[in-house]
């Protein structure tokens, strides 16, 4: 590659990355500000907004709710999604292809649309909005991740590996337990982590399906409407920290290529 081209490439890529992470940097920076202002210049570092957040009962209960929702969503979609992936990858058929587009449909609908549709549905069937309905909404959007990621891993597996296991004396259950599952497990855990990251940050669907309770993004929304409260930055940083760590961990288990499909 010519030198000039790669300098341009790095400039563009670097500028775009800076643009993408500018909001993240701003939030984290101001969460550490010792002053209440959210503007420059910066006077000093402190953790006072984190202390303030943890002292606030609204924050701790929202945090607990967010954790509950993320955990329940992740466990549910991992079980349901991984099973579906195994079935999809086992055999090629038009019906199964149709099914995979069906599973991924929630990804291409705007969150608002899904949120109000779910609200209408829960109202119609007389289901009280609660954390349960939030979990259902989150599961709808994160199920495609699991199916796509696990599917990608299964497709990359050499078909003859499972056959070799059978050939060497394993029953189909043993082949699954000793060979296939261990090879797919990292992808499932990676997908779980991404589902957690998504759920922890999800706002729109949560907003319409939550009822009286609160998660961290809902809390932030409420605080924003009440005017400037610098602890918002601390809460936002906690969300960001969680999702970014979850994504980084997921990156150790699955490759970017399995996601980019």
């Amino acid at each position: 590659m010519k030198r000039g081209e790669s300098v341009f490439a790095w400039l563009f890529v670097g500028a775009l990355i800076a643009f993408l992470f500018l909001p993240v940097a701003v939030v984290v920076l101001f969460s550490l500000n010792s002053e209440a202002s959210t503007s420059l210049p910066f006077t000093g570092f402190s953790l006072r907004w984190y202390h303030a957040a943890f002292a606030d009962e609204r924050f701790t209960s929202s945090l607990v709710n967010s954790v509950k929702v993320a955990a329940a969503t992740a466990v549910f979609v991992a079980l349901v999604g991984a099973n579906a992936s195994f079935a999809i990858s086992r055999r090629k058929s038009r019906l199964l292809n149709a099914f995979s587009s069906f599973v991924t449909a929630p990804l291409i609908l705007p969150g608002l649309f899904l949120g109000v549709a779910l609200l209408s549905f829960f109202t119609e069937i007389g289901m009280q909005t609660s954390l349960t309905t939030v979990i259902i909404g989150h599961a709808l959007v994160t199920l495609p991740f699991v199916v796509l990621i696990v599917n990608a891993r299964l497709m990359n597996l050499d078909q003859s590996i499972a056959e070799a296991a059978r050939d060497l004396g394993a029953t189909s259950f043993q082949a699954y337990r000793k060979i296939i599952f261990p090879l797919v497990r990292p992808a499932i855990f990676g997908a779980i982590l991404l589902a957690v990251a998504w759920s922890f940050d999800e706002f729109i669907i949560t907003f319409f399906t939550i009822g009286g309770q609160s998660t961290l993004p809902i809390l932030i929304w409420g605080l924003l409407r009440q005017g400037i409260d610098p602890s918002v930055n601390a809460i936002a940083s906690i969300i960001l920290g969680t999702t970014i760590i979850a994504t980084l961990l997921a990156g150790r288990l699955i490759s970017g290529r399995e996601l980019a499909r």
């Binding site: 050499d158 003859s160 590996i161 070799a164 059978r166 060497l168 394993a170 189909s172 090879l183």
Partner: protein, 386 residues
Amino acid sequence: MGAPASGVGALASTEAAAPDRSSGGSAASVDAAIVVEGITKRFKQTVAVDDCHLVVERGAFVSLLGPSGCGKTTLLRMIGGFESQDSGRILIHGKPVDRLPPNRRPVNMVFQRYALFPHKSVYENIAFPLELRGVSKKERRKRVQESLELVRLPGVEHRRPTELSGGQAQRIALARALVGRPDVLLLDEPLTSLDLKLRKAMQLELRSIQEELGTTFLYVTHDQEEALTMSDRIVLMNEGRIVQEGEPAEIYNRPESVFASHFIGETNLLEGEVVAVESAGTRVRVGSLGVAAPTGDVSPGVTAAVSVRPQAVAIGPGVVHDHENRFRGRLERRIFLGNLVRWYVEIDPGVIVTAEGPAEDPPLEEGTDLEVSWRRDDSILLPEPS
């Protein structure tokens, strides 16, 4: 491994269950390593394997040879238990295996792309079948060691499959398939992903391992040279059918069809019409020429093909041999092959005969008129060219 019931008992009940399939032939071959009786397999519209019958004797190295898509791999996979046939049955060491899943068949397979388990070490890969069978740790270690020595690759136990070269991975796959002492080893084009030099070395080594163990090997390949080098017997397949079966020399020297003569080795194929059938031989008219061939199962008036190996064709201005076939022609092309030379001679408009032999001195010039000849008995008469 295998059906627990005694051979006789299992067989008796099978015969009762499938009376229409009990043929007299199976009694003689009941002890063979593999018996394939009338196996057919369809995928959607296409017939992958069409009514194949095959007997593989114990301790033999047999190759299933044919072009890609001829059904050889499907047949192998049915023997291994990865596909189920639509009709027919398979016996291994006299026991029917048709209803047995792969893990309960007394055969093991070496896969084309090795199929080593990437999350297990070499040791764990080879020990896998022993572990499943509940072999003791001590015994496992001993047998893994033996297997590694058998494939001449001791000392790699702790490596991961990703840390092995292609040739090493193939040896480990072989060790893993042999460690459980299968009755029959199935090999599905195991050498295709190796480079030429390594492939040649592995061919010899596979053969010597097979001789050392005395295990029956059923080897699928599309490479005729490989099959000729390694096998006791070759089973030639085309379009789902077994077209010829025999020892390598037999297959090479006496092809029974145009396909066989084409697929194995190079050959000249002269197509024409049978004009005379005599006790001494057959005459076939090819263009304006009369070609002499041995007697065969043909009658005058039918179309036939005569196959001649290039090595059997002699050339020269003024040939002195007492060859029954002698034709004048013009040297179209002369190609230097290193140890040999190949000449392309047009003996009739559009009819080109290839001859091969040691270099002549001085070299003939292209365009020279010359004579080609071969013995009648080197002509192979093949009925019904396709």
